[in-house]
């Protein structure tokens, strides 16, 4: 798994490429945590995971996404996913994650509907 990072103003898009399986999940989680912390600079106000190049996610990947969504909430950073491919979308739906996370069809929708949590 590679992680492409694209900053656009206060919004950062993260594009995981390939698989987030139990081998790749820890590195993915650490890389996103660095983005959430700002990595020495001002942290973004919105982080969007763009799933267009994500082919596969397992429960280990879901676990990482869950922990990252919580970390973003604690840091008052809006967190959303978009453009999930069908097999990945199915895993999010079956696990009930679609009910507790913002999942949008594309980047534009994700960006326009993402507001940093106030609490």
């Amino acid at each position: 798994m590679n992680l492409q990072i694209e900053a656009d103003g206060a919004t950062t898009y993260l594009v995981p490429v390939g698989r987030i399986d139990f081998d790749a999940a820890p590195a993915f989680q650490q890389a996103v945590e660095r983005v959430l912390s700002g990595a020495g600079q001002t942290p973004p106000t919105t982080v969007i995971i763009d799933g267009a190049k994500l082919e596969y996610v397992s429960s280990a990947g879901l676990r990482a996404v869950l922990l990252l969504a919580r970390a973003a909430q604690r840091a008052h950073i809006a967190f959303a996913l978009c453009a999930l491919q069908a097999p990945v979308r199915e895993v999010f739906n079956l696990s009930g994650f679609s009910q507790i996370m913002a999942i949008h069809s594309d980047r534009e929708t994700a960006r326009s509907q993402s507001q940093p949590p106030r609490t």
Binding site: S59, V91, L94, I100, M101
Partner: protein, 140 residues
């Protein structure tokens, strides 16, 4: 195919599955469910099976049936039925959602049948899923 229960061997198992899939000309849409089931059950053995003891062997076999595909995963570790794990609470909020317990739940959801047996000192998990028959696919 048989491998030691180490995380680094997952790519070999996944490649084995994908090779089976393509050589049987099966519809590609059915493969992700088996790839996920394979990872979840293999990860269970890697994480829970080898505690304190010798490294286990995990054996994966795949078979075509008239309706679809059957996958069997066996290991020689201590007896453990992964299907006995309680289902996760899917109604908890983001802050309260437990971080584990989803793997076996997803396997149950994505497969048509899943069963566990202790056979000759080995754990055996067998699962099957029907597939839409693709034009020209051979189920021989």
């Amino acid at each position: 195919m048989s491998v030691a229960a180490q995380a680094a061997h997952l790519p070999q198992l996944t490649a084995f599955l994908e090779q089976f899939w393509s050589s049987a000309s099966l519809p590609p849409g059915g493969c992700p469910a088996f790839a996920l089931a394979l990872e979840e059950l293999f990860a269970n053995v890697v994480m829970h099976g080898s505690a304190g003891g010798a490294l286990q062997q995990v054996e994966v076999s795949l078979a075509l049936t008239p309706e679809g595909v059957t996958m069997t995963i066996e290991d020689d570790g201590p007896g453990f039925d992964p299907l006995s794990l309680p289902p996760p609470d899917l109604t908890a909020s983001l802050a309260e959602r437990p971080v584990g317990g989803l793997g076996v739940f997803l396997v149950r959801k994505m497969m048509d049948t899943v069963s566990y047996a202790r056979v000759a000192g080995r754990n055996q998990v067998r699962m099957s899923k029907r597939l839409a028959r693709a034009a020209g696919a051979e189920f021989a």
